[in-house]
Every structure is written in structure tokens, then in C-alpha cells.
Subunit: 311 residues, 2 copies
């Protein structure tokens, strides 16, 4: 996919930035994860470790850390990466449950068998559910490490819980499944689905990093709009990739949307218009940064990366 091209030098910088940040996120996950299932029975600990150990883009934690850096430039404390891990843990739970037979029924995720295939649907259901309180624990422990007071700790937990709950991600998944079940979904409906399903957690990732760093309302608003628009762009690109890419590149089952008759951006608007809409969303995301005077080349580059990614 080539659109909203990033200059070659910026692209090299972005690749280095993403590589470095992912490595720190992965190191933080490696440090935290064993503790999450330490006293759990082995048949539950194993799918939890498997799910969290699957390599990923770590987009949500990277957004969280980058938002922190917008407010507090300079070296980032390890505790910020711990905070960021809470977002990856919630994201991982949503993938494990979404892949279940009674949901999207996917066998392949990030190039590996999904949890319910590698273990069982029961194990996937339980491991996914166990990740939710685990994420809250990780978030609050990190907030304590950062010396957050009662009000901020409550605010951070509320951001995570709201984004992960009925009014956020889970609500979006419910709307998405209705679409698959034959309810007619138009462009506005699709936007509503993805705002909840993807946008809420992306925006929360940024907001949690920024709030922990003590961001003012203007920066918070700018990052929120950026996150929501980025979420929509991300989802449109996901729909496009489902049409244009093969399983091997995608690391999950391609062509799934068409086979289930699901409403997607390409199915409603066509491939070219969908690509253009993703570009427009990224432009709005970048405009929101400029409007809030957030001079983050990393966030601008991340927005471009969402367009250019091939899986």
C-alpha cells in the first residue's frame, strides 16, 4: 500500500524508533508477564503466556509512551513502559476473545494458531477474561511506581476500564458482529463501530500516557482526536489489507470479510475510495496534533506508518 508517502529518511527514523520502542515494550512485558500467572494453575497460565508472548506491533503501548514523551521530553522511566503494557494486555484479551469460534472464529493470529486452536475454546475464554483484571493491576502498580496520587490513579483506571468496556471496545465488537449477522451497516454505522472497537483503546493509550505525565487539557484533547482518527485510519487499512493481502503476509486469515459478507470500507465505498478515506483520517490526525501545538515527529510518523503498513 503506498499512500501519504513518508520520505525515505523519515521512514528510516520511524523504523529505528519503532524498533527501539517495541524492544522496550517487549522487555517490560517479559518482566511483568510471569507474575501475572504465577499462582495460576498450569492449564490457565500456559494460554496466558502464549497469548502475551505472541509477537505484535505493540502499537498501543508505543502510543502510550510517545504521549508521555510529548508532555515530558527526555529519558522515559521504566514505569511508563509498565503502564503501557496494561494497554497491550487489554488488546491481547480482545484478540483472544474475538478469535473464539462463537465470535470471528479465526484460526490464525499474528502468524500463529489462535489460543482456542492451540489450547481450547474454554482455555481461551478463561485466559482472555483473566487478562482484564491483570491489566488493571499492571496499570495501577505502574501508576503507583510513578508516584501518582489517588485522583490520578483513579482517573487512569477509569480511562482503561471505559475504553475496554461496554461503552468502548466491547460495545464496538457487539456492533461489528451485528453487521456480520446481516444488519445493514452504512458508512456512518461502520464509523460508529470502529470508533468504539478500535478508536477508544487507541485514544485511551495516548490519554493514559499523557495523563500520567501531567498533560494539560489542550494536549489531552489534541491527542484524543489524533487517537480516534488514527483508529479509524487503522481500521480502514485493516479492511483494505483483508482484500489485498495473502494470509502469509497478514499473519491471519485474509479475505475473511468478503466470505462472511461483512460490511467493510472497501465493500461500501470501493477499494480506491477506502484508501483515500484512510489518508483523510491520517490528515485529520496530524492536523489535531498541529492544532494542539504538539510537535511530535514520532506521532506524525506513526500516523503515516498506519497507512503504509502491509500487515
Amino acid at each position: 500500500m503506498t499512500m501519504h508517502a513518508v520520505p525515505a529518511s523519515d521512514r528510516a527514523d520511524l523504523a529505528a524508533f519503532l524498533g527501539r520502542e517495541r524492544a522496550r515494550v517487549d522487555a517490560a512485558l517479559d518482566a511483568l508477564v510471569p507474575g501475572l500467572a504465577a499462582r495460576a494453575p498450569a492449564p490457565l497460565a500456559e494460554p496466558i503466556l502464549y497469548a502475551l508472548g505472541t509477537p505484535g506491533k505493540r502499537l498501543r503501548p508505543v502510543l502510550c509512551v510517545t504521549a508521555w514523551s510529548v508532555v515530558r521530553p527526555g529519558p522515559v522511566p521504566d514505569a511508563v513502559y509498565h503502564l503501557a503494557c496494561a494497554l497491550e494486555i487489554i488488546h491481547t484479551y480482545s484478540l483472544v476473545h474475538d478469535d473464539l469460534p462463537c465470535m470471528d472464529d479465526d484460526d490464525l493470529r499474528r502468524g500463529r494458531p489462535t489460543v482456542h486452536v492451540a489450547f481450547s475454546p474454554r482455555a481461551a475464554l478463561l485466559a482472555g477474561a483473566a487478562l482484564i483484571p491483570a491489566a488493571v493491576r499492571v496499570l495501577d502498580d505502574a501508576a503507583r511506581e510513578l508516584g501518582a496520587g489517588a485522583a490520578l490513579r483513579g482517573r487512569l483506571a477509569a480511562e482503561l476500564c471505559d475504553a475496554a468496556g461496554a461503552n468502548g471496545m466491547v460495545g464496538g465488537q457487539q456492533l461489528d458482529l451485528e453487521g456480520e449477522a446481516g444488519t445493514v451497516v452504512d458508512g456512518a454505522g461502520l464509523e460508529r463501530i470502529h470508533r468504539a472497537k478500535t478508536g477508544a483503546l487507541l485514544a485511551a493509550s495516548l490519554r493514559i500516557g499523557a495523563l500520567a505525565a501531567g498533560a494539560d487539557d489542550g494536549v489531552l484533547r489534541g491527542l484524543t482526536v489524533y487517537g480516534r482518527e488514527l483508529g479509524l485510519a487503522f481500521q480502514i487499512v485493516d479492511d483494505v489489507l483483508d482484500v489485498t493481502q495473502a494470509d502469509a503476509v497478514l499473519g491471519k486469515t485474509a479475505g475473511k470479510d468478503a466470505s462472511t459478507g461483512k460490511a467493510t470500507y472497501p465493500s461500501i465505498f470501493g477499494l480506491e475510495r477506502a484508501r483515500q478515506m484512510a489518508r483523510e483520517r491520517v490528515d485529520r490526525a496530524v492536523d489535531a496534533l498541529a492544532g494542539a501545538r504538539i510537535p511530535s515527529p514520532e506521532l506524525r510518523a506513526l500516523a503515516a506508518y498506519v497507512l503504509e503498513r502491509d500487515r
Copy 2:
């Protein structure tokens, strides 16, 4: 079931106490629940409201409030009932998921069709998962109402998350399902299952109420042992009732354990020995109260109630 008989006058007091406390818990739930699904899409809000609206014993919230009263006798603020609701919300999530076809596959719960029967397995999966962050929100909001500082708020959230997670309730459910799947479970194994599956959340209910009230370590330890023993007694009685009661009384499918070949207290020890074990557990629970100098007639009566209940 008649054992460890409660004198008629105490029984009348207990009935009045339980009725009064349940009414306040139900009023608190009625006040909180609409907000939990306010911005959720209707097909997700409906199963959430249905699940939380099913009448129940409200044992966990009543234990939470009673533990508060042990530490702070006198009128109980509404916020303590809000705190207590978090435990009922977590308990409700666990029932919704446990009833799913890929789990215990139950059609009847508290005398009504289970959520996956009344709606769909997808709706039950999503509604259940949405209740977890909702419970955390309710708990933390209540802790804020009670003026809890950062350390206490963190501690309360940790208690809830640990009891609800891989090392607590979810871990216990995993062990329980393994038993059903043919793994040989002996008495010690059964105790391990129920300590995690039921005991962890009952103990957390008491600990959360007591911690919020500022309990010292001695009281906390006493209540913890009481909760764990009560949890075991509760589970043994559950197993006994599954053998001896009809669906109509139980409000759920009776005789399920035998038909699935599941290891239970009656199947391992026989009905009479199981009844005796429940009595022994209740005695230990009451002894733990005495050992910690907790003069709560309500907690003693609740322990006896667990033995005498018929559903």
C-alpha cells in the same frame, strides 16, 4: 438440609437482617446499573441489564457490608453498598461466562433462562467481559466516595482483581473444568478448586469491606479465614443440593454433576460425610471469628445460613 441448627429466634433475626441488607444492595445496584451500560449499544446493554437484574442471594455484597460493620459499627454509608456492588458485578460476570455452551452449558440460572439462551453466546461472552471493567470502575468510584487515599484505593482494586483473575476465581474454574474433562480429582484437589473458584471472591468480599473501614491485620486475618472456610462450606452444600434438590427449588439445572461425571464432595465422600464436612467448615469459620475477637452475630448467622439454605 438441617444441620448446625440455628435457634428459631436467631433464624428470624437472620431472615430480617438478610432481607434488609439485600434490599439495600438491590437499591444500590438499581442506582448504579443504568450508568454501566448507558452509552453501550442496545444489544449489549440489554444482556448486561438482564444479567445484573436477575434476583440473587447477594451473599458477596452482604458479606462486604457486614465486614465493614464489624470494624465500624453503626449506620452504614451508601458508598459502602456501592463498594459491595462491585463484588456482585464480578460474581455476575462469572455466572454469565460459566453458563456458556463451551463451559458448563447451563440453560437455567436463578430460575430464569441463562444469558446465552435469552440472547446469544456472543452476547453473553461480550456482556460478561464488559462487567469486569465495570466492576473495577464501581469499586474505585465507591472508594473515592469513601475518601480513600491512593494506597487504599490501589489495595482495594488489587484485592478485587486478584480474586477475580488467573490466581483466583478464573484459575478455580479452569481446575474445575479439567476435573469434568476426566482428570482424576481427589478430596485435596477438590478443595484447591473451590478455594480458588468460590473462596477467593468470598474472602475478598469481606477483606474489601474491612479494608475500606480501616481494619487492623488481626481482624483482616480472621475475616479471611472465615471467608475461605465459608466458601468451602458453600461449595460443599452446592454439591449436596445438586444431588438432593429439584430444578424448581434450585433455580438451575439439578443433577448436573452426576450426569457430567464431575467429581464432587458427595461423589468422593458420600452424602452424609459431605454434609458433615460442610458443618466442620462452618465450625472453622466461626472459630476464626472468635479467634480474632470479632463479635458479629450476623457473620455467625450467615455461616449457619450457608448450611441451612435449600438453594
